[in-house]
């Protein structure tokens, strides 16, 4: 029987900062999105203070100062590199991993003969903490949905959780909030509650055909997954706050030309998703690997992260960056079987535009936001959108509070005395 383990880093960006700055342990820490716009990562202490995920920084700047919150600009080169280290370590536990986002991966445990997985899960957690300094949570289940649920429970308990036992599932799922299920957002859960479905058990036990009719095929699949039947492909549910576009190649690819063509397709797909979400992206991470199962092939697995000087939704710019990255990763003589990219640091266009205009005069920011809304409303949504796209000024995105790129730049290494 195939089991899935979901490994997820706790407050990943903050944890990366802490790995290189241990004095941040136990303190409230936040990391900001591109151009220091919004809060994109919070430590447990910052969450306790009431700082919300996605809050515009200008709104809580004073609060952070008063409460001695450590504030950092995002450092995607560092986060991308740390992510790659963690994925490399996970492959040592299980050759078949599916990287889901910059800080999450599913381990596909096929043919593992363990009866008691608790030691295995704890080993993963301890090894990653020791080797990289990053704390992770591990959840185990017979399907990805149950593994995700287990991971959520792991975060609030000892850091590992095994949800394979059917008897244990009965009690746990009856107390598990539906909005926390993979594939069920807050909007969908509100609708489900109207049908008297308040927890995961009630969803699992509801009539699949009725659910399919009223809520769609994806929600019906969640029911099957809760019953232990794996049926949701990984790329059908996007991770939060990121866009992933990748594919395994049907036949091994060996030339740079073919790789550039593939990555261009993935870039175009991702850029389209980005625009559909009305967002801009601040960084891109590209990865490339050989087929782990072909032991006769020399193995290679690598990734690189590139931060855009100005966040963008422009396909040609994203494409250009993706091709540049794949060229950087390419080595002659390898048989590659998978490539892909992640668009990171997503910000809604409205907030991004507001940022760019308001940076000069924070006092007038509310008035500017109102004015912009009025213009958009009066003259049509595209008006201010075009305006921002046209302003490709040398406005370098603000990274004032960014830590050094300790693991990717010779000029920015940690210095000891």
């Amino acid at each position: 029987m195939t089991l899935f383990a979901l490994v997820d880093c706790n407050n990943f960006y903050v944890s990366c900062e802490r790995a290189f700055n241990p004095i941040l342990e136990g303190k409230p820490v936040v990391v900001l999105s591109n151009n220091d716009g919004c809060i994109i990562s919070r430590s447990a202490e910052a969450k306790k203070l009431g700082i919300l995920m996605g809050a515009p920084f200008y709104q809580c700047q004073d609060f952070c100062k008063k409460n001695n919150v450590f504030v950092f600009s995002s450092n995607y080169e560092l986060y991308g590199d740390m992510s790659q280290r963690i994925m490399t370590l996970l492959r040592q536990f299980c050759p078949d991993i599916e990287v889901y986002s910059i800080d999450e991966a599913f381990l596909v445990l096929d043919g593992f003969m363990h009866q008691d997985f608790s030691l295995f899960l704890t080993d993963i957690r301890e090894k990653i903490k020791k080797f990289t300094g990053i704390p992770v949570s591990v959840g185990l289940g017979p399907t990805k949905t149950l593994a995700k649920a287990a991971n959520y429970l792991a975060k609030n308990t000892s850091g590992v959780f095994d949800l394979c036992d059917v008897n244990q599932q009965e009690k746990i799922l009856s107390e598990f909030p539906i909005e926390r299920l993979w594939g069920i957002g807050s909007k969908l859960s509100r609708r489900l509650k109207k049908y008297n479905i308040h927890n995961a058990k009630e969803l699992r036990d509801s009539h699949p055909k009725m659910i399919h009719r009223h809520f769609g095929v994806m929600t019906a699949r969640v029911i099957e997954e809760l019953k232990g039947i794996s049926c949701i492909p990984l790329d059908s549910i996007q991770p939060r706050k990121q866009i992933i576009s990748s594919r395994s190649f049907g036949k091994a690819v060996t030339t740079l030309n073919d790789l550039e063509e593939a990555i261009s397709n993935y870039a175009a797909t991702a850029a389209l998703k980005l625009r559909n979400q009305q967002c801009v992206t601040g960084a891109i991470s590209v990865f490339l690997q050989t087929n782990r199962y072909r032991e006769q092939d020399t193995q290679y697995s690598n990734s690189v992260t590139f931060t855009f000087p100005v966040p963008t939704a422009d396909t040609s710019y994203i494409l250009h960056a993706a091709k540049k990255c794949i060229k950087h990763l390419y080595r002659k003589g390898y048989r590659y079987n998978k490539a892909g990219l992640m668009l990171l640091d997503l910000t809604p266009i409205s907030i991004f535009q507001f940022d760019m205009l308001a940076k000069s005069n924070p006092q007038k920011s509310e008035l500017m936001m109102e004015t912009m809304d009025k213009i958009n409303h009066f003259m049509g949504k595209e008006t201010v959108f075009f305006c921002a796209q046209g302003i490709q000024r040398p406005w370098q995105a603000k990274f004032e509070k960014r830590t050094s790129r300790y693991t990717t730049r010779w000029s920015e290494l940690v210095k000891v005395v």
């Binding site: 700055n21 004095i23 080595r331 003589g333 940690v414 210095k415 000891v416 005395v417």
Partner: protein, 122 residues
């Protein structure tokens, strides 16, 4: 990474005992770094231990257990330091330096890894 090179072409005839191993180009990072995912590179600043000079590159491996005699990479308050790990007679761990007083290890000190190589330009 480098691909292995055969020393000589396969041919008919009696094989020579010297021809039965694969040579490799000398890849320094593969040679020095056993655990790439757990290995970090830092730079020495000023002298704190004999043999380690200002601007030297230090290779730190977080997977190695910090035991007595090892040079460790530590964080004390907001400073990063390298020290030699030792034990006092009463068994308590201390951090030694060649140029200043030893420090007793406590909760405020984080040992972040073991220094495995020093690269010093000559």
């Amino acid at each position: 990474m480098h691909l292995p090179l055969y020393l000589s072409k396969v041919s008919a005839g009696f094989p020579s005992p010297a021809e039965d191993y694969l040579a490799d180009t000398l890849d320094l990072s593969r040679h020095l770094i056993a655990h790439p995912a757990a290995t970090f590179i830092i730079r020495a600043k000023e002298q704190s231990l004999i043999g380690i000079f200002d601007d030297d590159i230090l290779i730190v491996d977080k997977s190695i257990k910090p035991i007595c005699g090892k040079i460790v990479f530590v964080s004390i308050e907001d400073q990063f330091l390298i020290k030699r790990l030792h034990k006092k007679l009463n068994g308590k761990p201390i951090l030694q330096s060649d140029y200043c007083a030893a420090i007793e290890v406590n909760n405020e000190i984080y040992i972040l890894g073991v220094v495995i190589y020093v690269i010093h330009p000559v």
